[in-house]
Amino acid sequence: MGTFDVAVVGAGIVGTACARELSAAGLRTALIEPGVIGGGATAAGMGHIAVMDDSEAQFALTRYSQLLWKELADRLPADGEYLPCGALWIAADETEMLEVYRKQRYYSQREVPVEILDSQSLAEAEPNLRLGMAGALLAREDAVVYPPAVARFLASEAQHLGAELILGRRVATIGDDAATLDDGIRIRSRSFVVANGAGAPSLVTGLNIQPRKGHLVITDRYPGFVQHQMIELGYLRSAHAMDSDSVAFNIQPRPSGQLLIGSSRQYGSDHPAVDNAVVSRMLQRAFEYMPGLRKLSAIRAWTGFRAATKDKLPVIGLCPGRENVYLATGHEGLGITTSLGTAKLLADLLLNRTPAIEAAPYMPDRSYALHG
């Protein structure tokens, strides 16, 4: 196999995007994955390409990435199911409506196309929402994709650009000049990118990333039941509660007509089994927003683990204390969106190019990402 310029560990959406970007830059790249391409958190999530404004850094990376997705959209294969459906941030009452106005100002100042829907236009746009919602913010350029198929596409693009895919093997350790696989084989490489999500702490010491469990339910086909990705604005409160379990109304139309219903966030649970109590809370919340969901048929429920950091920003860049190990993990619930931006940023850092967005907020050496 010789020596690679870079070995990417993990072929989820972030790892495959990185491998594609690094191969495109002319680096001899290896992509190593123990399971199925896009089979981890990538497969467990919703596939919402979202612009977010929790912090300036979060906005910068999500918006940068969203525009990269728009560029890529035409080239995605049909099974990537890119659907530019837009997202509605639902305000249940006047207090939440204040947040709609604030977001509208924030995004408009930054040239993100958004629109305010009042109570009536929201009811017309989404007739299955309970009547009496205060309104919503429409983020027009939000989209959805089917992440495992996209990851597979990114991996195959990387392969066309010369990357070598090593499937079925887990990286056990990363040394200075080689990664050792679980069968003892050494993959020699000049540098490494750790992109295995919540599994990253097993490869680099001191990385503070917690698995945050989530549940999703998918229904049979009900074409037209919802038109947009919808998220309750209460989501901001619940998803931001860092220490307690939370659920929020989050629904997504799939191109098949199926509905994907979320979401939940739990810390301290490392068992992948579906927790009926959590599913129940999550669905009850969804019924509050869309009572008509009750009678629809659910086909599957499943769980996944997001790689969460303390400050809700991903960890992208050189690993402290290492000369050639880079990190690209900690994307929590935004890995699908930010995968493309992460890959650009990481390649720029690795190749000493000037990144399109400021890299500092995501650097691994910020005190809360690493300890000890």
Binding site: V36, N276, F287, S297
Partner: protein, 428 residues
Amino acid sequence: MSRGSRTADILVAGAGPAGMSAAARGRECGRSVLVLDDNPSAGGQIWRGGESHSSGSQSTFWFRTFGTCGADVISGARIIDGDAKRRRVIAETREDAFTVEYGKLILATGAREMFLPFPGWTTPNVMGIGGLQALVKSGLPISGKRIVVAGTGPLMLAAAAYFRKHGAVVPVIAEQADWTRLARFTLQLRRQPGKLCQAAALRFALRHSRYLVSCWAEAANGEGRLESVRLRQGAKAWDLACDYLAVGFGFKPNIELGLLMNCRINDAGIESDDVQQTSQEDIFAAGECTGIGGVDLAILEGEIAGYAAAGRADLAKGCFRKRNRARQFSASLRRAFALRRELRSLPSATSIICRCEDVVWQRLEQMQSWRAAKLHTRCGMGPCQGRVCGPILEFLLGLQPEAIRPPVFPARLESLAAASEMEESIDK
């Protein structure tokens, strides 16, 4: 929606022959018995439609015995979730969802038809033997229609005779097994004179049909409507005009509920011991879900499971000899009618494998695992939850299905949402 909770000494999942005999024997021993069945009425696949649609003294006896045994029966109920440790399940009907706490659980979940893909197999009027029979039972007129029956096993003969009785013409019955295996099987029938007589009677009823061995349906022709079937026998292939093509490649045990309850599964189905007990102490399994064996075996296993679940293993013992003989017969059936390798090369690049999600063969051919097939093509992600395409890919590619998660059947969102509430109310 009701949040009812029920209890029973013995809960029987399924009201086919095995479930009926299990329930009857459990009641005979004085236990309270609840039967949950997802069909509109008892009888399972083989006695579908109830007593009026089934002939024979055997079914008459069991409909009567089951009907008068005093078991509670809830039809149209599906078990969607369960917990072996806490000995309870969650079930859903059209109206509501409820929990059942049981002392012993008897799985009698039966089997489903196994399908194999070939070009045109999704054309209208190409259907499973059982599916077509069910349609005829519910009133589909087939008088004067030409029905080709293709696949494997003795049930093809029974089905063909049934179609003839309803006025259809069955020009050909195409059996994929070869003469050598059939001859060996027929020799074994000598030990079962009853079965031999049945076979002879069927053959006589079908004297106007050609019975071709080492022969199978290679393609269904016709755009939007079936026009003919292409049959192959060795080097010879020809088209035969027909209105229906009834295919039957055997059956697949319904093991999903067993998997959910952590019962051990073996090559045949849900593993069970001499008294039909599974690897879980309080769970028994009987009938086709333990391995395809036919109605006689199902009834015997049901009786044994019913007695044993009621704590009367002594009574169960009386059925052992007959059950073991029926098991031998079913093993020889499996050997004789094992699917030949050539059937693996039937699908063309554009043959649909997963009907729910319209996934074609060329997208699946290279898949290394069931998970990869699912994630990258959506195969098995539709409402049948992989029940049709799972066995197909197991046969074509040797892919093993994944572990199972609730709901084991599609369920209303309100039932899923109520599950934990129901569990909590029991725990209190």
